[in-house]
Symmetry: C2
Subunit: 263 residues, 2 copies
């Protein structure tokens, strides 16, 4: 059974997708068989790893959830070794409403993950990384319930800080009532620009409040992160070898490997 | 009847709240009686205009929608002349699910807006500005259906561009089936940093595709926008008189006044 990491924060634009994609890529480059699951209604992660040519035989996560199929049906190869993708699909926007009337509606994704397909493909992965939507609806709840651990990106601004309490309360309630068992593996500071006073203030507050839960590694503000998706590239393909974006996500990857006790 | 402007874009972190708050503040400073309605689950706009002391008699938008009350019940004064706020409230997260089973569920907010309270307060406003969530659920649909016009902030990055097609399709479908009549007043480029190539590329693409629908005014990347909410301030109170953030939102305000034919 792979370790399942959900990348979550209901605040918009804090770097969930950028983190899910580049952490998954970094793990794959280190030799871990990694599956990136796109559970965002907008499919940004799927767009960034743009399956090309489109794999016609590849079903998507929306259909897996709507038709209650094994997750294996939605797994596609990417152009990177060791990295597979389960793309979101265009019908993701209807999933919340359809799931609302399903029995055990918080665990539909978990059931899909545990369901053995004929190829027993899910079992071959070391890690599953889930990208989630900026909305704590049923879709995201499904990711949280299926996860072993949460990685919470937090951008160094005031508004993103406000949401952390709600996220914590939601996780707690899901643990009590929906069989969730995930804990926060760590808080990741993103879009860090230490010349900005607000960045320094937010970083201090976060480290004070969450101590070692805050990763040592931070992701610095870097225009290459903005540009990479427009070229359908991870930061590792977009930046030159000594790039700061690559450096930051490699440092994060090493810390994640240590915290998860991988290998 | 006030003109209703919904600030919408389902992509996260593109500057909806920063725009809703500062456009509303700019209109108020120009003498227009302005109501800012916070329809985001996370209540970021409400937090930025932090009602202090908390107005105990002030009900919130969540309760107005859940109990089908007139919007007037949720209107509170702010510390700025001519600017009132209808705060989101903590129960906003349950609104989508509760609205799902209501009759005419796309128009609950519109009914609340049109319902005359004893003070006939809504009719005294010139403009209503609605801040929306990064999610095209029933809550945001209610804002779109009630709106006369849409202001779409787009940050100069690739991922935000992807969502515009879905937003357009949603608005079209709402016009055909739910009585929506809003049109896009304009697309607003945000977090603009013209030293970045991706910014220049995205701006060109957007102006090519949407022509004059793209505002001339753009909101430049500016650390003061990040810092202002942590001080519970609009950019007009946070920056010195010649600040670039104030300049940008004033320019936007003038263009909005022209496009809406206000006064
Ligand atoms: N470290 C960084 N420096 C500069 N830009 C960044 C950085 N990280 C992410 N970005 C850019 O900021 C935008 C938001 O990032 P991203 O889409 O990863 O956030 P998100 O939390 O997934 O958003 P959403 O809530 O909409 O899913 C993207 O255009 C991305 O390219
Ligand atoms: N022009 C700008 N320059 C720098 N930072 C900005 C600018 N505009 C907004 N920000 C900051 O970027 C973050 C995202 O902005 P904002 O919250 O307004 O976006 P949003 O679209 O409302 O997000 P959400 O989708 O989560 O509601 C905030 O911390 C805000 O302070
Ligand atoms: Mg994302
Ligand atoms: Mg917002």
């Amino acid at each position: 059974r792979p370790l399942v990491v959900a990348v979550a924060n209901q605040k918009g634009g804090v770097g969930k997708t950028t983190t899910a994609v580049n952490l998954a890529a970094a793990l794959a480059m280190k030799g871990f068989r990694t599956l990136l699951v796109d559970m965002d209604i907008q499919g940004s992660a799927s767009a960034t790893l743009g399956l090309s040519p489109v794999d016609e035989s590849c079903v998507d996560v929306a259909r897996v959830l709507l038709d209650e199929r094994p997750l294996e049906d939605a797994i596609c190869e990417t152009h990177l070794a060791n990295l597979s993708l389960a793309p979101a699909g265009e019908r993701m926007a209807m999933v919340d409403l359809h799931l609302a009337s399903a029995y055990g509606r918080e665990r539909v994704f978990e059931r899909a993950l545990l369901a053995e397909g004929p190829q027993r493909l899910v079992a071959t992965f070391d890690v599953v990384v889930i990208d989630t939507a900026p909305y704590l609806g049923l879709l995201t709840v499904n990711a949280l319930v299926a996860a072993d651990t949460l990685l919470v990106p937090v951008s160094c601004e005031y508004l993103p800080m406000l949401g952390l309490k709600l996220l914590g309360e939601t996780v707690e309630r899901l643990r009590q009532r929906a069989g969730a068992r995930c804990e926060v593996m760590g808080y990741l500071l993103t879009m860090v620009d230490r010349r900005e006073r607000i960045t320094v203030e937010v970083e201090e507050l976060l480290r004070k409040r969450f101590g070692d839960k805050v990763f040592e590694a931070v992701i610095r503000a870097n225009t290459h992160h903005k540009a990479a998706p427009s070229h359908r590239k991870t930061i590792f393909e977009h930046e030159p070898e000594k790039g700061r974006g690559r450096e930051d996500y490699t440092a994060l990857c090493d810390e994640v490997i240590a915290r998860l006790g991988l290998r």
